[in-house]
Amino acid sequence: MKKEAYLGVDVGSISTKGVIMDGDKNLLASAYIWTEGDPIGAVKRLIEKLGAQFDRNAWQVVATGTTGSARKLVGAMLGATVVKNEITAHAVGTTAYHPDVRTILEIGGQDSKIILLENGIAIDYAMNTLCAAGTGAFLSSQSRRLGIPVEDMGAVALKSAHPTHIAARCTVFAESDLVHKIQMGHTKEDIVAGLCEAVVGNYLNNVGKGKRIQEPIVFQGGVSKNIGVVKAFERALGAPVIVDENGHLMGAIGAAILAKHHDARKVFDFGIENVAFKTREVICGQCPNRCEIICVYRDGKLIDNWGNRCEKGDITARQAKHA
């Protein structure tokens, strides 16, 4: 009899994360790769990596959870038993390792969020609204401008004793302010440190606005790998900020735990590496709303669709009726 394991997959705009866990929150396998604008291909590579890391004769994946912005697509692909939003998944994942956490700060590639918890339960949260100001995308575009690899920015920032003040309210203003400060002769170290502070200032003024940030504080998402931003948070909040070594996997871990707690069970087949998945966009012509419907095909067969505002656009159901 094989022991039960759970698969969690978190597909974000920039990176794709996956874990396989046993019933006691121990990681059997984990992988972190770039999405590169191709969630289907990324998930295939991810599954291949995960499958190679653990003993398939001893363990069997009995439930699968997906999260992240491509959770629906990947959920359909993997036959997920749970498809959950990334906020809930992150809260569940983080509290598994830090049960007493009160505040989760997260800055990812395109979005940033704050989750407040009490007794291990998320009680409030906020997400950046319409713009990606102060997220990883902002830091990486500025790193190119300054000619400093984004991975090195944190270390460079730590060398600065006088961070340059950079307008933090909006990325566009921050960028023009930055160009101006470079021309004025501020050093690169000071500017990079200023950028880290700008990211923090922006975060606290937007996402963190009006929220009561209490300790313990956990910081995760890609930007948490930047020590300059971590230190800037600690200065701004006047409190230690914890960065978990598995912080980048928390969404996937949360998805795996959610799959475990959910009743649905479906043995996962690692054979998907050889299955052809395709998506197609269809404009529904049934009414003036002209919904953009995404259809997912597995080896040429339609397995799921979404994007329709009403049942008229449910293509899977329509085909099932005609079949």
């Binding site: 906020i87 998320a122 009680i123 949260y125 997400m127 953009e292």
Partner: protein, 317 residues
Amino acid sequence: MATSQKPVVGIPRALLYHRYAALWQTYFKSLGVETVVSAPTDRVIAEAGARAAGDEMCLSLKVYLGHVASLIGKCDCIFVPRIVDFGIRRVMCTTFEGLPDIVANVFRDEHLKVLSYNVNVQGGLGEKEAMIALGRELGFSRKAAKKAYKAGFAAQKAADDAAAAKAEKQYKAKGLKIILGAHRYVTEDAYYGRPVIQYLKEKGAEVILADAVERKSARRAARQFSPTMKWEVSREIAGSIAMHEHLADGIILMSVYPCALDSMVDDMIVRKLKDSGVPILTLTMDAQSGTAGLETRLESFLDILTLRRRAKQEVKA
């Protein structure tokens, strides 16, 4: 305009239509004036509005202009009231002060005939007199116009009372109760607001519209948040939230971009309720068609409310 050649009046199903549908419909019906109301907002209407509108206009005004465009050719004139205020600190958004002029200017090449009535209480013009004047303009006697207004007023009051009574009942429901604080033209819009309510209902939530409330009490209750807030509808929404927040599991403040009133009032509500412990989600709607971000926010908000409630029940048990 003589009564013998009564015009067909086109009414855009947008903005204040959602607040005054009963008043307007009953009024025109009582006078025997034929009306045509535009269809519920769909993508074609929304896009036509966005094309006609200026950049700085709010999404709801853009939608309104789409409705006006859809009525062109289907009626003799477009009904666009000018509603400025109902008294001191009972002011409407300036959009409603300028609406007839905005419509006339945006569609100046179409030579639209705009039919209007002016409510400006601080300027000495109440709703009743304004609508009697409208009837006179349409060629009816003062008596007939007055009668039509009375019928319309009664119908609107009945509709408002029924909505408030329904909401009061909802506050006593067992399910997950969410107060939706938003202008009625946002919540009632078939393309933007309705899908949000639909989604929440499908997930089993009891969605209670904040503006379905006994208005006088709500205006008074709004003083708890701010004694000087001057916008009529914002006072109703904020006051209703002040009256009912202790009965709700969560509050969603939904506004359209860029709404000047909500940008201040919603922010104030969040700050004032910081210590109440009620989770608040603020949603800003823009013309973007993707619903993924919206769904993520709504789904996770519902998760939080469900978990909170479960934790509370466990503590009690």
